[in-house]
């Protein structure tokens, strides 16, 4: 569904990605692990054309999107949705306005159909009846759920999650992890989850990639990750800094 080949990216003077190769199969959930600042979110945003690589290729659903312009990326972005780290809700709109936004933009005008689709998306993220709230009145976990509802309402074939549990308390994090898993089963979508939260990785992943110093350092299944004796991977899983 998504693949990147020899991807490099420099931001300012900092080399973020130094030749990333990654393949995400259709229907699979791939978790990209890595320390804060390792370039996970930058890598994820390449999958939807929000960043352009310096060199390398990005393929989505059999189409190379590396050099597509902003307007040409429109059809690709209908297939791939993203949940941003901050949820990125439009703060001038209600919950309903946010979720209905992609539907209205795609040309849907029947308000009854829009209202039904919004209600269905909210039901999927366990937020039924919250249509009229403004984003400023939502908790962090609720904002992520509304962001997710906005992503799934147009039924994409692939969902990208940028740090879905960052900034949430353990219970809200667990609830988001379960929600990701449930959506995978219910919608049969391909998912890419970028996180440094091992609970998210173990709970949601079919496939794990560990990004270190701008390259994929480890790739395998969750069981292979658990069984790994590589000191770097081991330290990350156990959360050992190595400091005295």
């Amino acid at each position: 569904m998504i693949s990147v080949r020899k991807l490099t990216k420099t931001l300012g003077t900092q080399e973020i990605l130094r030749g990333v190769d990654l393949e995400v199969a259709r229907g699979q959930t791939c978790v990209v692990l890595g320390r804060s600042g390792s370039g996970k979110s930058v890598l994820l945003k390449h999958f939807i054309g929000l960043f352009k690589p310096n060199t390398g290729e990005v393929w989505v659903d059999g189409e190379e999107i590396t050099h597509l312009g902003e307007r040409q990326l429109g059809p690709v972005r209908k297939k791939v949705g993203i949940l941003f780290q901050s949820a990125a809700l439009f703060d001038s709109m209600t919950v309903e306005g946010n979720i209905a936004f992609p539907l209205r933009e795609s040309g849907l005008t029947d308000e009854k159909v829009i209202a039904d689709r919004v209600a269905e998306a909210l039901e999927m993220v366990d937020l039924s009846g919250e249509q009229k709230k403004m984003p400023e009145n939502l908790s962090g976990g609720m904002r992520k759920r509304v962001g997710l509802a906005r992503t799934i309402v147009s039924r994409p074939a692939c969902i990208l999650y940028d740090e879905p549990t960052t900034g949430l308390d353990p219970i809200a994090s667990d609830s988001i992890n379960r929600l990701i898993r449930r959506l995978q089963k219910r919608l049969s979508v391909t998912s890419v989850v970028v996180t440094h939260d091992m609970k998210t990785a173990f709970h949601t992943a079919d496939h794990v990639a560990y990004l270190h110093e701008g390259r994929i350092y480890f790739e395998g299944t969750v069981d292979e990750l658990r069984a790994s004796h590589d000191p770097l991977v081991d330290d990350f899983i156990e959360g050992r800094s190595g400091d005295e």
Binding site: L50, L73, P75, F84, S86, A88, L89, F101, P102, E105
Partner: protein, 260 residues
Amino acid sequence: MLTSLGRSVISFIGYLGELATLASETFRSLFVAKFRGQLFLRQVYEVGWRSQLVVIVTGMFTGAVLTAQTYFQFSKLGMKSAVGSVVAVALFRELGPVLTGLMVAGRVGASFAAEIGTMKVTEQIDALRSLGVHPHDYLVVPRVTALLISMPLLVAESIGLAILASYFVGTQILDISAPYFLTNLMRYTGARDIKMALIKGFCFAVIIAFVSVHQGLTAKQGAEGVGRAPTEAVVICSLAILVINFFLTFALNILFPYGS
């Protein structure tokens, strides 16, 4: 020192290039993207209606004070009846468009830069892009078109109110004869002055729209970045209005020579 000057010149040329790219992409959006009537009307309300207080106060008090000052000087020379025409020409050709431009830069330019800057740092612009909506179509075009249409009207309103205030101060508070005031005003001002005011207003709208939107789109992360965007937008717009007004005055005097 030369190196530093060279760097500043290159950076200034780069900045002008970015503004030109923004303008050309916006122009393209006008033709390739669907027209978002509701967003446009909301911006007309924000730009036109919500600027009423500053435009009314600026226009009326500028007209009033300019009349008083001109009267104090001209009355010594026995030229009181010329006050109306001098004030009107000054308002149409310079003060009306420039002062309205500066006030709108402060109110509207700052709000464009702050709104778009906040959307940028909170990933809302990336969210628009991820949903297949071009930020130029959704954010830039409605704001730019609303300002380009509203600004000449605001300039006309400001000048109209300034002349009304001038008439009231000149004929009701000071002792200028009303028929003389009006006759001289009509004799020495004409369509060329109105055209000059509206063209200047339109040019200043172009400056305010693109400079402030550009400041928003290029806002840096964090509270400092978002705070700096509107401040810089107002400073750049104000300086650009004052400098470009000088060149516009010469160019428009060739097109619409005074006394022709």
